[in-house]
Amino acid sequence: MKKPNIIHQYRDYTRRRILFVLMVILIMLAVGVYAVITGAAGISVSDIFRVLSGRGDAISGQIILNIRLPRVLAALLAGLALASSGAVMQSLLRNPLASPFTLGISGAAAFGAAFAIVMSGSLGGSSGTGTDSWIDEQYLVMFSAFVWSMVSTGFILVIAQYRGATPEVMILAGIAIGSLFNAGVSALQYVATDVELAAIVFWMFGDLGRASWDEVVVLSLLLFPILIFFMSKSWSYKALQSGDEFAISLGVRASRVRLTGMLAASLATAVVVSFYGIIAFVGLVVPHIVRRCIGGDDFFLIPASALFGAMFLLLSDTVARTLFSPVILPVGILTSFIGAPLFLFLLLRGMGRGYWS
């Protein structure tokens, strides 16, 4: 009897996983082009080429370079950050419900933003009088949201350091801290003026309309090192999925790998959230979709989730911009509307069949 050649089968499997990644990149590029050409002002594909090669007219140059492109890149980078952080957190916490917000970042960031909005309102008197003060306030809100996110993350990681960096400790501490901050947000909303209240609520809808080149640059400088860090640890993450004790027996320093991984994922999430607000669902659901397609090996799961997340958030944002045009919906609302049915579809289709690869 001829023995099956296992190594060949495995190589084929690896090739299929790489093919999936390439497919996602292709779809992402197509959606990217579509996102640049659609919108209130008409832009054509040839306009893109002309502008990118420096020969376009001023108006389409302005629209493409300063409005559409930063927004497209912001969607890609934010999706990449949220989905890869979600994939890493799900592995590190061995919990399919883990998401970038598991350590309470959404609550903490919302609190930070609300805090800055209420404080600058009461300190600066009439907020929103001049453009300059409005811009200053916007940065203040961003900064406060980021600082509070990292305070909450740091607090949980310190607790974990003392009580043992187990998934249970981190998840429970995250729930506790998250609800504490949510209470804080409610309190701030209660004391806020109508204008401030509106600003707080509006901030909490994730929205890529705030995108500019500055944030895109900061995000790319931060995210690529983090993504490479995740990839370099993917074998350790894979070992941790089978339990801490087993991972230690394979030479993985379990607590340290978990703490540093959570820190990196939280950092990426905190920056995205403070720039663009809370964009739900991407970080939770994209890793699941990808896992269903190519399996749970972190070496492939992390980059594939990152790219899928980028594509998915761009798609959502493009739909959000065009669905009820000229009204633009915040993308945070759309991600759930698109993601939930897609995920349920995959869940039902995959029932009893496992991964399709």
């Binding site: 023995k3 099956p4 296992i6 190594i7 089968q9 495995y10 499997y13 370099s232 074998w235 350790s236 894979k238 070992a239 999925q241 089978s242 339990g243 004790e245 087993f246 230690i248 027996s249 394979l250 030479g251 993985v252 320093r253 896992r291 399996g295 749970g296 090996d297 070496f299 496992g354 991964y355």
Partner: protein, 255 residues
């Protein structure tokens, strides 16, 4: 590789669990740790390869203290098969076994890593399920996958915690036959086993543990009615047949 346990003590949160364990285990020995629940078998196994850091005493491998090993170096010498996984890992069998190559891999597995996995899958009769999900295998096959994963580390010492738990009679024997065959390749096998009949059927060497101490240690001669009654607090019948000992608890005479 000789293992020397030197007066090992270990406590969980100040509650002492191992209270001075001394033993020498030679290359290729087949050792079973038996004893009642809570006597410290699992804890001892985890201390042997540094999953738990011992408070006093030392584990020496050919006179080198394991605490001086770099973690991935130690993982190339000693492999650990945990007591049945909390839930089966969401991976294909090949990936699960390839994970055992982690101490040798930095980014991507090399050709040799693939060949080692291939060879082990063949040897353990897992070649037909190599591309299946671990969760979809039977209990006996899953246990073989976990042993295969440990063997992929190319260890000199294999530690197993209750490798026959959750298996039916035939699969228990299959796993133990497999482990026995490893010792003839020079691999030292140390396992916790709570079924004393299986231990007596296979164990070349038995270490009986009670309340964190080695209560008796040796070959078949330690399977005496007195020892077992003392160990488990139950009255037993001993049946000697064809060189094996069968231990039957006497259900009406629990001490």
């Amino acid at each position: 590789m000789e293992i020397h346990l030197k007066n090992i003590e270990f406590s969980y949160d100040r509650i002492p669990v191992l209270k001075g364990i001394d033993a020498r285990i030679g290359k290729g020995e087949f050792v079973t740790l038996v004893g009642p629940n809570g006597s410290g078998k699992s804890t001892l196994i985890k201390c042997l390869n540094g999953i738990l850091k011992i408070r006093k005493g030392a584990v020496l491998l050919d006179d080198h203290n394991i605490s001086t090993y770099r973690s991935d170096r130690l993982a190339r010498v000693m492999a650990y098969v945990p007591q049945s996984e909390q839930k089966a890992i969401p991976m294909k069998v090949f990936d699960a076994v390839l994970l055992g190559r982690k101490p040798y891999i930095s980014w991507r597995p090399a050709r040799r890593d693939m060949e080692v996995v291939d060879e082990i899958l063949m040897r353990l009769n897992l070649e037909d399920v190599a591309m299946k999900e671990v969760q979809k295998l039977s209990g006996g096959q899953q246990q073989r996958v976990y042993i295969a994963r440990a063997l992929a580390q190319e260890p000199e010492v294999l530690l197993l915690d209750e490798p026959t738990a959750n298996l039916d009679l035939k699969h228990q024997m299959e796993v133990l036959d497999l482990l026995r065959s490893l010792t003839s390749r020079g691999i030292t096998v140390i396992m916790a086993l709570h079924d004393i009949n299986l231990a007596s059927l296979y164990g070349t060497r038995v270490m009986m543990m009670k309340e964190g101490k080695i209560f008796a240690s040796g070959g078949m001669e330690v399977f005496t009615a007195e020892n077992i009654e003392e160990l488990y607090d139950v009255k037993v019948h001993m049946i000697h047949e064809n060189g094996s000992v069968y231990i039957i608890p006497n259900r009406y005479e629990i001490k």
